[in-house]
Amino acid sequence: MIELRDVGVTFPGAARPSLDGVNLSIAAGETVALAGPSGSGKTSLLRLLNALLLPTTGSVSVDGMDTRDDASLWEIRRRVGLVFQNPDDQIVSTTVERELAFGMENLGLDRDEMRSRVETLLPMLGLEQLRDRPPHRLSGGEKQRVAVAAVLAMRPRHLLLDEPTSLLDARGRADLWALLAELRSREERTVIHVTQFPEEIAYADRAVVLVEGRVVFDAPPRELFAAGSGADGWGLRPPPAMGLAGALRTAGRPLPEDILTMDELIEALAGGTQ
């Protein structure tokens, strides 16, 4: 359970708070998409959850532990894994394999366990061929997969992902979401991900939208893209399938009103044919 109560964050010298009066309660195992314009406080919110950032006002707790309590810091960081937006911010090792082991070494895992987790994760993230390569010589998308694998290796109870697919190609994005879905079905794990992609918001149980440091929306994704939700005013575009369905309706092709995903649109247009 992750709880934010009346949380405010103001950076020194800033004219306005980066987060303001944020109340959120996220149950273990929930998948939450965090969206909102640049500068709305999404990354600050993630950093609060593993005590990289402490609230200026209010409180943040993880499984009952207050992030301001120094004595809980180790345990909080053990439970909350954060994948940074830019993989270069977190990669420290000289080979991909060692990068995956780095966090586990700090957790004091024994060698066999580390080896077994590395051997499981490398193929899951398509990194087998790259295991001996220096991460800093990999492409942006490859580094991003390494960064995700290194955090998954620590098996955090709560997984935070800051735009984990921003450098991935379409297949890389689809593969990562499939992997997260699989992990979710196997063990209880909270996933909180920041994203700009409407189709990735649609993947979550719950969409939370931040605008200028405040929570302006907190409900299932389908409601976010319903007419009149305000999503457009917050700079959030509906999933492309909605726009295409609208264009087709305008051109006189009969289609249901509630189409959200491309799969639904394809079914509606070609349903009944194989």
Binding site: F11, G13, A14, G36, P37, S38, G39, Q85, N86, D88, R137, L138, S139, G140, G141, E142, E163, S166, L167, L168, D169, A170, R171, G172, Q196, A227, A231, D232, G235, L236, R237, P238, P240, A241, M242, G243, L244, G246, A247, L248, R249, T250, A251, R253, M262, L265, I266, L269, A270, T273, Q274
Partner: protein
């Protein structure tokens, strides 16, 4: 003036057991007024190609040169490269100093520096009076990206190379990057763009070059490349949603696909349909 890449190849760790090919024999020529996107799977050599075209990395085989240029001009002096996440390179105290850095390094007079920095900030739509004194580190992600691009635009080089300029930006900020690319094109600059964002490519360039494992595997208009379902499938690449829909329908029911294509393809931008329709 043209950037001419002639059978350019690059081998990393040449002569060592870890040697591997980054690019193998790529030929490409970009002249004034051209706007070209490089697309391809992660690790296919896109960034390497940009670095070679910018004269920052020497190819191990083939040649990269600037043709039809005045004496003394080089790739390095005529090509500006905006790296992926360019805001990570900020080191000055203010936005002004950050954008002025390249001009001052070229020993341009301070009056001219002030004029050009203000003009460059205007071009990326950061109001100079509001931003010149700010620390670049306190800007939002979208403002940082635009300030970083301004630091290159200010040099007014005829070729502008951009590596994933829309990565990590929200849709509205991404649109500002799109407009910026349009304006730079209108100002006569040639654009070479690396992107995973098929809509950004469709809306800003006339030609897409597709790389896979260091070689060119397709080269054509956005309509040609995005209409090639087999190629996209093979490389795991994404097309703009309208093409994705038509390609998926073609596999199910070609007649429906043709009908849908007549409605959704050839629209200048999908979001026009969106804004007119639902919001």
């Amino acid at each position: 003036m043209r950037i001419v890449l002639d059978s350019v190849g690059l081998t990393y760790d040449r002569g060592l057991p870890t040697a591997r090919s980054g690019l193998g024999g790529v030929s490409l020529s970009i002249g004034a007024g051209d706007a070209v996107a490089i697309m391809g799977p992660t690790g296919s050599g896109k960034t390497t190609l940009l670095e070679i075209a910018a004269g920052l990395v020497a190819p191990t085989t083939g040649s990269a040169s600037l043709d039809e240029a005045e004496d003394g001009a080089s790739l390095k002096s005529r090509v500006g490269l905006v790296y992926q996440f360019p805001e990570l390179q900020f080191f000055e105290e203010t936005v002004f100093d950050e954008v002025a850095y390249g001009l001052r390094a070229a020993r341009i007079g301070e009056d001219e520096v002030v004029r050009r920095v203000h003009a460059a900030l205007d071009r990326v739509r950061l109001k100079p009076s509001s931003f010149v004194e700010r620390s670049p580190l306190t800007l939002s992600a979208g403002e940082q990206r635009r300030a970083a691009i301004a630091a290159l635009v200010v040099l007014e080089r005829p070729f502008l190379l951009l590596d994933e300029p829309s990565a990590g930006l929200d849709p509205r900020t991404r649109d500002r990057i799109l407009e910026l690319i349009h304006r730079e094109r209108e100002a006569g600059r040639a654009i070479l763009l690396v992107t995973h964002d098929p809509e950004l490519a469709e809306e800003t360039v006339d030609r897409i070059v597709v790389l896979s494992s260091g070689s060119i595997v397709a080269d054509g208009s956005p309509a040609d490349v995005f209409g090639d379902a087999g190629l996209l499938e093979r490389l795991g690449l994404e097309a703009p949603p309208a093409h994705e829909l038509v390609n998926a329908l073609s596999r199910r029911d070609p007649a429906v696909a043709r009908d849908v294509a007549s409605v959704v393809l050839g629209r200048p931008a999908l979001r026009d349909g969106v804004s007119n329709d639902r919001f």
